[in-house]
Symmetry: C3
Subunit: 342 residues, 3 copies
């Protein structure tokens, strides 16, 4: 149960924004968005997946956003649209209470270096720190306790949630969303070994995030050793992700939670990495590669497609027997070869 | 070596709190708790596992908490109790220096919105931010630099350590412990793809944490897309855990470090997930499921028990041979079938 | 593209610092460090790996740090040195703009407890909190928003980046680097189960970090239950790493990103754990163990060497077939045995 207040719209207003068609009373107002089964009489809902069609007849929603093909089955008012899932995405942003809460200004407790430059209509929250030479674009929102390091640039329209750390010399594009506790530009993991101990290699590169990038909570993108770590436009990065120094991620790729990418690896455009995927260092993944959850990739991939590693889960009692056999697998294969030769 | 000061108790006082029996001088004081082998003459220790019985005769502790069966073997004073491990848990809380350090009040550097409500006896640390409409229950402790977002509720007796982010519209139960740098209510990972690029789905749900929940350092629990992410009562979550949007976790379940759970998965009551376990999205795990460390679960589990995936570790030279054979495993099985047919 | 300013040196100055030999004009100045292919005419570069020798003839750098064997092939001035990679490490620190930005003093917005002790030449950033009894050594830098808990000690010359949480009763050695959002001393994951619910075991131990330790962004090192979690000297820990209570890591070991180590495990000296490696609890790894990426270790290792688990990645279509066979592997092995008996 959340107590956040949602904005209110008429169906006509929403149809106008979404370029959708209203069937029913366009003056009816809706003040929230919910699922087909949860929506109440003041809320809007949507049908974007046939699996949920069974919930349509009984919905209590004020109105349903759906494909025109399903309009006849709808027991209440409709907004019809060719791609209802995209329509839902747009609706969700219209109903986002955070958007309504936007309040330009700089909180008195924020510490802004004299040499920092703030754009128009920025909202700088309490306890924020903005260091020397940082440049904050127009319409940027910086949440409580976030830090923007020296000489870093935050592009117009970006939002940093609470406790974000953008380190020094980082370039963040426009309309970027950085969730709480992500770190952009921490030191890469670089040390030279002299045979007995480690010597730190100062990480002199930066990080460049393209436009429309999103980074999840507690994710870290390390700065380059020399040259930058580069995240392309429209790259979406989930929570608890680690991206090492000098990695490059192509435009429109998406990385699910807990992904880890080792140093200098290049991921192509339109790639998708499942949760917990690991990529070794110095690899190249071409455009259009998908890797399924918790797979480890240790070689470059030159053809688009879906890749996997690991084993499926099973009862532990069975797994133990199979896992023991895995340790003898090469030997087993040789035994089969010997049998074949007989 | 730590320099924290522990509280001091007499054995009689402790016996009274634990409902234990003293054998020896009840007026003897103890000012700390340590293991059988480490405890010094002013400290209390405990024996809760037969594996450590060998250390009992030589202990230098002032007194030992143990089962009555072992009292005769104890070289010093005893506190006897049927379940010494539970007794140890209770003792540990009595000796916790953090509990002794409780100092109600609001630090001058904290920024508290006028519309926020603070309960009785709260302790609000330096640099804290509490946003509009937040409600802080009685006896809550909020550590340095933590942020409580708009309209969020923190239940009575809860403790937020340093740098905790509770985002907007989150409900935290009573007696909850949130360790440093955990994020409750960051955006879930939701985007609609239009064939060429991603469109953000604003995450309009919240997070509800039950009573007696604990969340470890640097863990993240994402807010729901529509409807809430729900963590039951007495759920224990370790460090570096990622819980995606609209996940539900049943009461009394425990998740070890580095677990990742994808969106909309439901975990039952009294489940235990080992370190690094991954659960795919939209699954259901029934009550009483245990998953061993670093296993990946991609299908729902309908019977309680222990489940595993993966392979055991071995010398890399052997592993390389076996891993190559794994890539030919289907072919190997077909070869065996052909041999059998002969 | 980063806009950070690098320091400037003459080649003679650098040769003096590195104990290198200049070939060419020692008065030439360089104001940055870059790769062989990226370096411009005001920058220094280096050759430390034969794989990059092909870029040497065309480099546009002002000078190249390299082994004397390659001096003749160098088209511009050289600094020659027997171990150019170590030389690069040292150069990188000389060109580190953060080092140049060092500004002793305590920011007005920092909250420092009266009983805390600050050494000479400390730099305490904005919004920092230093609690009762904490001791900050000479030349320590504490970045914006970091918290040092009660009774904790930060050794001389250490640097805490932004938003670091050092909890109470933690001892940090000298010249330690703690990257943004790491947590040193959060609660270990300890609960006693009474058959129906969990009882918290307060974590009374601390954490001790040796000298020259580095901890990456968003990593967490939990405090001991009783007794300390101990990280040896010169241990290097990457980002998103989780180290549980009472773990011990020997000197000079290195842990790559996303490693997770369960409670009470002891890792020897000069060990190397690849990215995403998991170690179960209560294990012992001897000195000189290497574990490859994403392997799970569930048994102690008593001989140095390289260890692995898991399977290599492959096309998903092939993987599905092989993974199904893995579930039948014990049965397959029995079938082969039956065939052999015939």
């Amino acid at each position: 149960m959340t107590i956040v207040q949602y904005p209110t719209y008429t169906l006509d207003e929403l149809a106008d924004r979404l370029n959708a068609r209203v069937i029913g009373d366009g003056q009816r107002t809706v003040s929230g968005l919910a699922t087909l089964s949860d929506a109440g009489p003041h809320e809007l809902t949507f049908l974007a997946n046939r699996a949920y069609l069974k919930y349509l007849p009984a919905t209590k929603a004020a109105a349903v956003l759906l494909h025109p093909d399903h309009a006849e089955e709808c027991p209440t008012a409709c907004l019809t649209l060719d791609n209802p899932y995209l329509g839902y995405a747009e609706l969700s942003r219209l109903f986002d209470p955070l958007a309504a809460r936007y309040r330009p200004g700089v909180h008195a407790s924020a510490v802004i270096a004299e040499s920092a430059k703030l754009g128009d209509n920025v909202e700088i929250g309490p306890q924020v720190v903005i260091e020397d030479g940082a440049v904050i674009g127009d319409d940027v929102v910086i949440g409580p306790g976030s830090v923007v390091g020296a000489d870093s640039v935050i592009g117009a329209g970006s939002r940093l949630h609470a406790h974000v750390s953008v380190c020094h010399g980082v370039v963040v594009g426009e309309r970027v969303v950085l969730n709480s506790h992500c770190v952009i530009g921490g030191d890469g993991f670089g040390f030279a070994h002299d045979g007995s101990r480690w010597h730190k290699i100062a990480q002199l590169g930066g990080v460049v995030l393209g436009n429309d990038v999103e980074v999840g909570s507690c994710s870290s993108i390390d700065r380059g050793a020399l040259g930058d770590t580069v995240i392309g436009n429209d790259v979406k990065i989930d929570s608890q992700v680690q991206i090492a120094h000098n990695v490059q991620i192509g435009d429109h790729s998406a990385l699910a939670g807990c992904v880890g990418i080792a140093g200098s690896t290049k991921v192509g455009r339109h790639c998708m990495l499942g949760g917990g995927v690991g990529l070794s260092g110095h690899l190249t993944l071409c455009d259009g590669v998908q890797v399924t959850g918790m797979s480890l990739v240790t070689n470059s991939i030159h053809e688009p497609g879906v890749y996997s590693s690991g084993t499926g889960s099973m009862r532990n009692a069975l797994w133990r027997k199979n896992a023991v056999r895995f340790k003898q697998l090469d030997e087993l294969a040789k035994r089969v070869t010997r049998l074949e030769k007989k």
